[in-house]
């Protein structure tokens, strides 16, 4: 047991180097953010994840952001348990009718200023579930969206690029 602890202390870090901010994402969030709010966050952003109908594939990759390899906290990005503590809602899935009210209430419970990131092809464009009686559609049809990160599911590195772009824009010196 002690050997594992010692090895963990002296092992090289498993964390990969930070990727550059995604260019497309930079352009998209650049439009979305006002200068007024850029100073507010001091390089710290709290994210509340909302599954609004996903197959859970996106959740797996969002989870991976917290592992030692991607380690999203080093960028000041952390996941919080309540929308009341959140700056960003990370929403996945085609929004189902059964989750629409919960998503709207979560959005309403998130204090301003706030951003919404739609994660995955379903959230961005409804994906393979389009046309079902049980599905409202993409996230934008229910709440305003500031950034889309596509993929089925998006790789953690793509999620990281998008979030870093959002972070850079939100906290850039004015």
């Amino acid at each position: 047991m002690r050997t594992l602890l010692l090895k963990s202390l002296f092992a090289r870090s498993a964390t990969i180097a930070a990727p550059a901010a995604g260019e497309g994402a930079l352009a998209e969030v650049g439009r979305a953010l006002e200068q007024r709010v850029r100073r507010l966050f001091g390089r710290s952003i709290a994210i509340r994840e909302v599954d609004a109908g996903s197959c859970n594939g996106c959740e797996l990759e969002i989870h991976a952001l917290n592992n030692a390899v991607y380690d999203v906290e080093r960028f000041g990005i952390r996941f919080v348990a309540s929308p009341r503590h959140a700056d960003i809602l990370l929403v996945t899935g085609p929004v189902t009718h059964n989750m629409k009210v919960a998503l709207e209430r979560t959005y309403a419970a998130t204090p301003d200023p706030k951003w919404v990131v739609a994660v995955g092809d379903c959230a961005a464009g409804c994906g393979v579930f389009e046309g079902s009686y049980a599905v409202v559609g993409k996230v934008e049809q229910v709440i305003p969206v500031d950034l889309h990160i596509r993929g089925c599911p998006p790789r953690p590195i793509d999620l990281l690029r998008g979030l870093i772009a959002l972070m850079d824009q939100a906290t850039a010196r004015v």
Partner: protein
């Protein structure tokens, strides 16, 4: 079984098991027999004008029985056999068919938000209801209080509602309310061509995407009486075992994390990430989504791919071994997992609960062996079974399953059969019916489908293992403290999306 199914004439072109059309009395007799513990319910689903039930009464081969719905009703199986209750509620919501005598007539998937009643049946317009308007079962007693949780949970997890009734710290009752991520998949699949349907089925539950595609491909191949080439069958199983390992690594870490033991979570997170990264390198997708296709697989494993996978196994095995020893020698952690969330053998047997939920409570069943399919049918491998039925036992089942996966993968990768990786799955005849059961990381997963004469999907149903595990979580938490719910829940790790379909 009081009904000898083999004396009936099976429906033509249903493969590999037989399907029998029965009358109401026989249907009810089968239900009564299931209720007496004379067989396992593998699935219960509807289609316009009929209901179907898949069942297994070993040593006889499994079968599908079908009953024509009369005046919108069919005799309830749930009356005799509680595992059918939620499935019957789902049939009521989707098709509008009443299970006569059903013990629970509350809606399950229908939260009153569709604007439709029976969307796959009569499809009548319906008024919207308040989604919170749901009659939870009442619990009476002095000092009881309720804790509502969800649908939006605190972590990065899927939505569902848990209604706890607690007496101080102790949970007196948990009632689940699910259906929040119901996407209408049964309806979406109808009339799709098989390639499009395969993409939808692969997204019934993202964490089981390989197993879902595997089962769909096998069901379709059964309906068309074609078989994937041997090399493709082995590559499919390689992906299935990689998926199992990745999920088990994640779950073992997450269980420890829910006992606030972050170190093992970190290590297991790296193991999981390594499996996904190498899967990406070899197959071009981290979760290997859409890699299994009817007729075979999308990508072959090249020689360097096999080497990369074998190197991964060599890298992970000793490191994982160390983590397991750490777990087993940390009393503060074991104190949280042992004797927590016990499920009885009687319950897992009655529910025919698959995977780690069943095997941790003494149910010795694995579809890879007991409903064997290639390449598993060609060899023997160890299937762990434990008796304790607690969080610790469910964790150990995962540990031993990883060991089995490592051994299977080494064997296959050292000697991949030669030949093509895909055949034309069009088959001799386009119309037909097929059923397949595959052992997903959670347990046995069933896909049933019927092809129309033009080759399109006339009807397809996916039954996730979670259907027969979620109800047992309610039993597991009873008498435990509220703070142990995350541990119990994670040790089950049921799929919301797979259940809600």
């Amino acid at each position: 079984m009081p009904i000898t199914l083999s004396s009936l004439t099976p429906v033509a072109n249903h493969r590999p098991w037989n399907r029998y059309e029965v009358d109401g009395a026989a249907w009810e007799a089968i239900g009564a027999s299931l209720g007496k513990g004379e067989g396992d319910l593998l699935g219960l689903w509807g289609e316009p004008g009929a209901v179907h039930m898949a069942l297994r009464s070993a040593p006889e081969p499994p079968a599908v029985v079908s009953l024509a719905v009369r005046a919108g009703t069919f005799p309830s199986i749930g009356k005799y056999h509680p595992p059918a209750i939620r499935l019957e509620r789902a049939i009521m919501d989707l098709y509008g068919y009443t299970a006569t005598g059903a013990p629970d007539e509350r809606p399950w998937l229908d939260h009153g938000a569709w604007g439709l009643r029976a969307p796959l049946g009569a499809r009548e317009p319906a008024l919207l209801r308040d989604p919170a308007d749901y009659a939870f079962q009442s619990v009476h007693g002095e000092g009881l209080h309720q804790i509502p949780v969800g649908p939006v949970h605190a972590g990065i997890i899927e939505p569902g509602h848990f209604r706890f009734t607690a007496n101080g710290e102790t949970v007196a009752r948990l009632e689940e309310r699910l259906g929040y991520v119901h996407k209408g998949i049964d309806g979406l699949l109808t009339d799709l061509d098989s390639d499009k349907a395969a993409r939808v089925v692969a997204r019934v539950s993202g964490d089981s995407t390989v197993a879902l595609s595997f089962a769909f491909a096998r069901a379709l191949e059964a309906a068309r009486a074609v078989e994937a080439p041997p090399r493709a069958q082995v590559i499919r199983a390689v992906m299935a075992e990689l998926e199992r390992m990745a999920n088990h690594f994640g779950d073992i870490g997450a269980i420890c994390n829910d006992a606030a033991f972050a170190l093992l979570h970190s290590h297991c997170g790296i193991f999981r990430e390594r499996v996904l990264a190498v899967s990406d390198q070899v197959f071009g997708h981290r979760l290997m989504m859409d890699e299994i296709l009817p007729g075979g697989v999308r990508h072959d494993i090249a020689a360097e791919g096999a080497r990369a996978l074998l190197a991964l196994l060599d890298e992970l095995e000793p490191r994982f071994d160390e983590v397991v020893r750490f777990y087993d020698s940390t009393p503060s952690l074991l104190d949280r997992t042992r004797t927590t969330g016990i499920v009885s053998r009687e319950l897992v047997t009655r529910w025919a609960a698959g995977g780690h939920v069943g095997r941790a409570s003494g149910r010795d069943f694995d579809a890879r062996r007991d409903l064997a399919y290639p390449p598993y049918s060609q060899g023997t491998f160890k299937i762990p079974v434990l008796e304790a039925g607690d969080v610790d036992a469910r964790l150990w089942i995962r540990v031993h399953e990883i060991e089995t996966s490592l051994a299977l993968l080494r064997g296959w990768l050292a000697a991949l059969p030669d030949g093509p990786v895909r055949v034309d799955a069009a088959g001799a005849s386009d119309a037909g019916e097929g059923v397949a059961v595959v052992e997903a990381f959670r347990g046995d997963l069933l896909v049933w489908l019927r092809l129309a004469s033009d080759g399109r999907i006339a009807r397809c149903h996916v039954r996730d293992p979670s259907w027969f595990q979620w109800p047992l979580l309610e039993a597991a938490i009873e008498g435990n403290i509220v703070a142990d719910f995350p541990l119990c829940n994670k040790s089950f790790n049921c799929s919301y999306s797979g259940q809600d379909v």
